[in-house]
């Protein structure tokens, strides 16, 4: 047996067995599986982006590089065809206005329910989480009915979509702020009060700066969620004019129809979200510079809401 264990006389079979017995061996199979998963999840998207630069009309056979689906033709280019342009503008309009409103309401709500300890705050904390978990279809239907039957002064279209998006997203900042407040604890505010700060002063000069990373991370998240939102925008759109990019892509692909101009539109959506993510990542790292535990992975996790 001792001879077998000697590495010089090892047969391939015993080598394999001893490799399997080694408790600290590298998890090769697991790593290969993970790579396979990553390739499967990312490569189709890369292919779709590449085809938005196809010179031909096909989105499945490559005919050379061109930017004709972005610029150059008033019928086929997404930046020049008025219908495509209107979808791009609608997406940005909805995302920007909804993000601003959501953040104002959500941050105040998060701080309020964390500090105001009462039955009402507990109840509405529950309502807020509930509104987040129900399927978006049911949520969208509730909004569709309320604007067509009760609040009929709000027309379906941009304003209805914004009200829907704000409600749907309010829980992002609220939950993230709530968590951050719980981890900060009362000590800093007490110190500020001991040093003579009033409540409002300590809120403005101590609490808000400490909440900045959380506020920033949730702004980025809410913006990206609004850009990508489909169900609410679809159920609450009134006509083709109020269809954002996501709804436009959906209604054009019914039954599997597509073309490079849709890929170009989707690539733009991807760009908006990825720019938001990049801004979020870099901004988050800048805000938290010098903080303990602030690393690249931590910044990535924060802007994703983990």
């Amino acid at each position: 047996m001792t001879a077998v264990l000697d590495s010089e006389v090892m047969t391939p079979a015993t080598k394999r067995r001893s490799w399997r017995k080694n408790p600290w061996r590298k998890p090769v199979v697991l790593e290969a599986f993970t790579w396979a998963y990553l390739v499967w999840s990312i490569v189709p998207i890369v292919i779709a982006v590449i085809f938005s630069f196809n010179n031909g009309k096909s989105d499945s056979s490559w005919e050379g590089f061109s930017t004709r689906w972005y610029w150059g033709s008033t019928t086929n280019s997404v930046f020049e065809n008025p219908v495509f342009r209107s979808a791009i503008e609608q997406t940005l309009r909805l995302a920007i206005i909804s993000t601003i409103l959501t953040m104002i309401l959500g941050v105040a709500f998060g701080i309020g329910i964390h500090r105001w300890r009462s039955k009402t705050s507990v109840t509405f904390n529950f309502v807020m989480v509930f509104s987040y978990v129900i399927p978006e279809l049911i949520f969208g239907i509730a909004f569709f009915f309320v604007f067509t039957q009760l609040f009929t002064f709000v027309d379906l279209g941009t304003s209805a979509q914004i009200l829907g998006l704000v409600t749907w997203n309010i829980s992002w900042p609220a939950i993230i702020i709530f968590a951050r407040l719980s981890s900060i604890g009362p000590a800093y505010e007490e110190a500020a009060a001991d040093l003579g700060c009033s409540r409002l002063q300590s809120l403005r000069r101590v609490l808000l700066p400490m909440l900045m990373p959380a506020i920033f991370a949730s702004t980025v998240l809410v913006f990206a969620t609004c850009v990508d939102d489909f169900v609410i925008c679809n159920l609450l759109s009134s006509s083709a004019n109020t269809e954002p990019m996501s709804v436009f892509i959906y209604s054009s692909t019914h039954g599997g129809q597509s073309g490079p101009q849709l890929n170009a539109l989707a690539t733009l959506m991807l760009l908006f979200s990825l720019v938001a993510a990049a801004v979020g990542f870099l901004g988050y790292r800048w805000i938290t510079r010098g903080e303990r535990g602030a690393g690249r992975s931590q910044a990535l996790e924060s802007i994703t809401g983990l």
């Binding site: 998207i45 779709a48 399927p135 279809l137 309320v146 968590a179």
Partner: protein
């Protein structure tokens, strides 16, 4: 993150009950919450109630449009009866749709878990110095629009798309398959592809939080790799598995766009497609309201479980 506000444990000599100052401070904080509370009342609770009002209402005989009834004591059961007849009786048609929804969602959830768990486990435990890279690649799909991800598969699965070309060249199939013409396989693939990024992130967060020392202790005490995994890692990641499954299961049940984009065929339609279609026809809107309430009631247990969990556990990842 604990969602239950705990009463501050302050030892004071003063008698129990809030002092005037405490009450004033509390009201100050309440002012922050009030706008959000009013918003949720008028733009969440009232809209949800409207579904009930439409479901319990009746049809305008001239315009054939739904007329909501706001007084709960005056609600009629007519729409509920109509939906009941869609379930049982000679004109019923919902049974197969509901069954299909459940089968698709269950298969897609199990597949997602089987794919997501090993990948999340690897990144959380073995990625080492390359963790940042793996994390970025794993998070990327989360940031990419759902529509873009579906469009990518529409490109690949077309009759003359790369999938068919590859399969024909490898002699797996003799002629191109019309994957987008109402195939259950395609719909399930779409659901898995669409929702797996959310699951994998929750699993990663749960697995990453497991104390490595517990695993080392398990090995030191003589457990094999498999035993350590089953008794320590798997057990400790159970809350993350449940949360992750819920967070993908709930939206999958109400999904109608994945199906519509990748199949668009009645042969694969799910409960979401039915509700969506009913909403487009005014005379069927009230039945759509009843069906969405039905869906809400079925999902109430998992929804409440999720809310309860997020209040009682540390990993209330969104």
């Amino acid at each position: 993150m604990t969602m239950t506000p705990e009463k501050p444990k302050v030892i004071t000599a003063s008698p129990p009950g809030k002092t005037a100052r405490q009450r004033r401070i509390s009201m100050g904080w309440a002012a922050f919450a009030v706008p959000g509370i009013l918003w949720l009342v008028f733009l969440f609770i009232v809209p949800m109630y409207t579904i009930f009002a439409v479901a319990g209402g009746h049809l305008n005989p001239i315009f054939n449009s739904p007329v909501p009834v706001w007084n709960p004591f005056a609600w009629s059961g007519a729409n509920y009866v109509a939906v009941y007849h869609d379930f049982v009786g000679p004109t019923s048609f919902i049974g197969p749709i509901l069954g299909r929804t459940v089968v698709y969602v269950v298969i897609a959830s199990i597949l997602s878990l089987l794919i997501a768990y090993p990948a999340a486990y690897f990144v959380a435990r073995f990625a080492g110095k390359r963790k940042g890279l793996f994390l970025a690649l794993m998070i990327a799909p989360f940031w990419i629009s759902y529509m873009m991800r579906m469009l990518a598969w529409i490109d690949l699965l077309q009759t003359n798309g790369y999938i068919n070309k590859a399969l024909v060249n490898l002699h797996v199939i003799s002629a191109p398959v019309n994957w987008l013409g109402g195939k259950s396989v395609t719909v399930v693939l779409g659901l898995v592809y669409g929702y797996i990024p959310y699951l994998i992130l929750v699993l990663y967060a749960g697995l990453d939080r497991i104390d490595q020392r517990l695993i080392e202790a398990g090995r030191d005490l003589g457990l094999s790799r498999t035993q350590t995994f089953v008794t320590i890692t798997l057990r400790l990641s159970r809350p993350a598995i449940i949360t992750g499954m819920l967070i993908t299961f709930l939206p999958m049940i109400g999904d109608y766009f994945t199906n519509q984009m990748l199949s668009g065929n009645v042969a694969t339609s799910m409960i979401g497609n039915l509700i969506d279609a009913q909403l487009l026809t005014t005379s069927l809107q009230s039945e759509g309201a009843v069906l969405s309430l039905f869906l809400l009631v079925i999902l109430l247990v998992p929804i409440l479980y999720y809310v309860w969990q997020s209040r009682h556990s540390e990993d209330s990842v969104m």
